[in-house]
Amino acid sequence: MASYRTPLGRARGLGAAKHGVGEWISERVTAVALVPLVLWGVFAVLRLAGADYAGAVAWLTASPLNPTLMVLLVVVSFLHMHGGMRVVIEDYIEKTLSRTGLLLLNLFVCALAGTLAVFSILKVALGGAL
């Protein structure tokens, strides 16, 4: 019997993740953004490693640039982390319950830690810490 489904209709929903092109593009876009952000982040860590609490607060409050880049580093990193770990879980965990559980855990951990980090950076940068 002839099938009236288009090749695209048949292909949709196949594969380990059942969907994917949006996530695939998102992982690349965040990767491109993370190249300069991570290089900046390495030097930020070097700078912060030699500073105490007051030095770290001063570094974060000195100009809008440092907290802005730090928030961007956190947000883009956590988007990239979520997407990457999601692919790892989808590739290796087959049982529906453990797979769904781990996917939810990955999402919740990234959302919680990312939000905590952004709120904390803003709190310090906006002067709430001193």
């Binding site: 105490d52 007051a54 904390s120």
Partner: protein, 132 residues
């Protein structure tokens, strides 16, 4: 149309393979990605401790400054630089370049060399600037 379904052809991945630098770096890309997932959580912990006050921040610095913390930071530095370099090679592949075996292998070797050199350079700078 009652033929039994034919056995599907399988990719010969289980019998015909050998270790190769592109294969090793592909696996390492995933492993380092999982490692710096932990690094992202440490970054979040840094921000939360900083916003919680001097005592919390001193505790955070004590953990990171301990021998185990420094070892973890060293491993994270290498993982970050390797994942960064290999990620750039993946982006170049996504653009459709660098698929010739010699080019791909060379790129993989460059990723490893860059990660080692950049890690040593950053830790040398950390020693010299007194950040350690």
């Amino acid at each position: 149309m009652t033929d039994a379904p034919r056995a599907r052809p399988l990719s010969p991945f289980t019998g015909i393979w050998r270790w190769h630098v592109t294969m090793a770096t592909s696996i390492a890309h995933r492993v380092t990605g999982c490692a710096i997932y932990g690094g992202g959580l440490i970054l979040a912990a840094w921000a939360v401790c900083l916003a919680s006050g001097p005592e919390a921040y001193a505790a955070f610095q004590a953990v990171i400054g301990s021998p185990l913390g420094l070892l973890a930071m060293f491993a994270l530095t290498f993982s970050t630089f390797f994942h960064l370099a290999k990620g750039v090679q993946h982006l170049i592949w996504d653009l459709g370049f660098g698929y010739r075996p010699q080019t791909a292998s060379l790129g993989a070797v460059v990723c490893i060399a860059f990660a080692i050199a950049a890690t040593l350079a950053i830790w040398a700078i950390a020693f010299m600037t007194g950040a350690l």
